[in-house]
Point group: D2
Chain length 305, copies 4
């Protein structure tokens, strides 16, 4: 049972250390946070024209936060368990925006809204135009902490997390982020009801949400880039341009993890990941691209033969 | 039962239209082909030093071929079913080479051989140094046809296939390649007993092999980049630098496939793949990087609600 | 004669709208500003070891500012004439830092300090180890305004200017920057006594300086990226990764300039720059790369034949 | 007085070691070579529509060659003095092609032919639509030798030279290329009457030409990438994607040159080029981008102070 509910409508458009926290939470408590969608719910129907609906808008991707986590200090690691994501609307919105998206083929880069209805008791999404049903797999596109000195646009991913658009920021998984400021200053938003790897068109199934998180602080533990743990796998996220640099960052961080916590040498970890590492694209559309390197935990066990 | 056995030791180091075929096969016949490993088996033990073992070698990645497929002509598509891969050695070889691989961290880019023994009745690979056991998942790193006018190094992937290092070129799957020349002129080699996504260190579990393939020709069907079909998914491979261009190519080819064979508009395919597409890295180490875009076939079925 | 002297030692490490101006100046006034070098003068001799000299340092590239320019408001353009740069030390410092620089060849990426003495009445630089004399060509590596909502590291270049490392930010030239905040909030630092195109090793001839500037505000004039005008040429600076995106930005901004001020159509400007545009690399080592597109003014004159 | 005239109309579309030479020349002889333009003169007036004029065309960029240079053998360097370029038409052709060029802004990537007339006794080019006159500065966009085993499209630049589109392949300059085959097998074409750095729109002022060259062979001298010497500067050309890799290659090759011929250590060369190197973009539109790193010869002289 969560004690704290954060439903703050003073949305933020930079991951910033220069604003007051909207809430303070203690490690171990369950916290419920409400989030807006990436367009602040300004796009609602397939008749909407994005450039008009967003005409008065200066910034996209509103974030709830920052949340101050008691005890977190620079040089620590913030651990966040994503306990649950509840979608708080009966439809998700995607769209094609002008001159945006992974492909800019003529005719693809015009404007168009796609409405995906939640069906099957919110277990599936359905689009009437293409008549396709896909499963709901909710996650947070944006999830991060304030950088040390910088204030960075909520359109951007980075070492601090941010707009990674990585589908493994999902219920049941635990995310680890570097702490740069007292209280960590956590931001969250941009829930996606579904999203393919790469977020090809630039806009996933955007939706409002209510999530339950549990924060913890690992004192004195320093990581360089976001890490994720699922039941089966450990993962690291790298964000950069060109995309190969994101891949290098992700794998280098995963090697560091194997060395720190799983008794590998750098060389041994490098060799193992060469043979069994996973590497998928989270986004290929944001200001930096995010890739996820991973390894199944069963390949980390030593076997004597 | 395969009628034709190709065990030609006149290995090739370019995908070339300028050499004589080593065999001619008819569509529909099963064909057995033997392949060398990427180092032509010159590296054998963990005591070997790659730069010495390869000192006299001018070219790497020997290919068997070209195989002439009767009836294939420019503008057709070559369809290849990979029926079986049998590993013909009791160990696979990986190594770190000087100034090669996805990461060039000091101390990682020195030389070192890693021997992975085949164990569990060739179902697993085991390395004694890190004491880790991983599953055998054989596939061909290099798999392609001759380009039209060019002769391209067997280190390179491209529209013609080639050194893609994509783990889905595997038994049970069917590969589609564009045909540029009479007879298609098919080349194969570089079997990997296992490889992670990205082939991080640059060298997978390299091994000799014997494979059974069945070729077919789709007359008058023109594709632009390699396509793969598995039981569950359809996939397209893009190869380019920087990596984001490979991603764009792969998804654009997959959109084309959805439009041609699954009754999608370009826009509908683009939207669907935005929400459920898969995108993983095959290699991040070759002369071009190869990415695989895919979609589960169950998301291609129309549903009325 | 400059009326205002800014010699503020409260150096800044982000281009930020969240701090108080160190001075307020009126358009048209000449202003003298003192700047530190990129290492805050912590490296002084060829015996210094950069990693030790900088061990206690959290941030590099200290900037003087922000300077509030009266009358500047969001949507305006800030015009800065660089009247003079006086070098305030008798030597400049370059160095090789660990894992930094355009090339990371073994043996090049170790640490080493290079001292360049000012000789010939501060007209030349001389290094005793390689015994080479080169001309002093002073310019500011870092030169920018605060972004609208973000606070960005002074290691980074961007639409706001910043750490572009572009040798044309030099005496005699005029720089134009977009204004995002009331007062523009101008920052300056990182003087280079000389620097090649690309700033190959990552560290130019770094030096302290005293400069004379004159600010003006072009009301209601909106530009997207930094522009520079010299006696002969007009130029635009693009900063991005990969480098080709910086090139595209720079040329697109230059096309915009030709359309706005020189009576070209977009098509005509695009064609002209294809035949006579200049495109050099400012830096290939910073968090984004900066390229400069330019055209000689004599090619902008209409001729009847 | 040139003894040999090569006016062969059997144009080539790959840099290939698999075809017969069109001529054999001895080192030291002056040779006159005629070349076609990149479109084989199929585009002639501003009324032409490129996609129609080129509809029947499979390959672009016809080359004259290969020319066999007596005595050249693998591992040597081919030295080519460009003595003169005579333009053999009274107009040059540029155009916008669909989905081609450095910028793909809507409305810029449609089709359009631009005719540049030669005026002022072939010293200038004039376009009637924009009414601008620019100087004739002829050079060869494509200039290379056959690779060792590969046959590469004449649209591509590489270590062998090729379609670099580098304005310093010009009269008065000397070009050095690696030799991979007996006789070197030299190819030339794609003369440009003028071209800006980057060749922004993708098509320069394309023209037919007659050139006078003198070949020489430097026995046993091995270089890795093309080098150019002008009266004042030495230069190296790197070609790759993304663009930063082309920059790294170019500077690394230039460092090698300083070490081999000018008594620098690698470190000293690296430092010097950091402070006085030049780095411009040749092309940002071909299959690989080409950058030119250079240094003025006066900065290579040792000075005692």
């Amino acid at each position: 049972m969560a004690n704290i509910i954060i439903k703050n409508e003073d949305y933020k458009y930079v991951f910033s250390p220069y604003v007051e926290p909207v809430a303070r939470v203690a490690p171990g408590e369950e916290v419920i946070i409400y989030t807006e969608d990436a367009f602040k719910s300004r796009i609602k129907t397939s008749e909407d024209i994005p450039s008009k609906a967003l005409a008065a808008v200066k910034f996209l991707n509103p974030q709830t936060g920052p949340v101050y986590i008691e005890g977190a200090a620079p040089g620590d690691t913030l651990k966040i368990e994503i306990i649950e994501i509840e979608l708080t609307r009966d439809y998700a919105v995607s769209c094609f925006l002008k001159n945006f998206g992974g492909l800019t083929i003529e005719g693809l880069t015009g404007e168009k809204v796609w409405i995906w209805k939640l069906v099957d008791n919110k277990k599936s999404l359905y689009n009437e135009e293409i008549k396709i049903k896909i499963p709901v797999r909710p996650f947070f596109g944006t999830f991060g902490v304030a950088p040390e000195l910088e204030a960075i646009s909520t359109m951007a991913p980075g070492p601090f997390g941010g707009n990674m658009d990585v589908p493994d920021i999902a219920p049941g998984n635990t995310v680890f982020l570097p702490v740069y400021n007292e209280g960590a200053l956590f931001y969250i938003g941009d829930c996606h009801a579904a999203q393919g790897e790469g977020e090809l068109g630039g806009v996933a199934c955007e939706i409002t949400a209510k999530t339950t998180l549990k924060f913890d602080v690992i004192k004195g533990k320093k990581i360089s880039w976001p890490r994720i743990e699922s039941k089966d796998r450990i993962m690291a996220v790298g964000s950069a341009r060109p995309m190969e640099d994101a891949a290098r960052i992700a794998y280098a961080e995963l090697i560091a993890w194997l060395v720190e916590d799983y008794e590998f040498t750098i060389e041994g970890a490098y060799q193992l990941l060469t043979q069994v590492g996973g590497l998928y694209v989270g986004n290929m559309v944001d200001t930096s691209y995010s890739l996820v390197a991973s390894v199944h935990k069963k390949y980390l066990r030593r076997v004597e033969i």
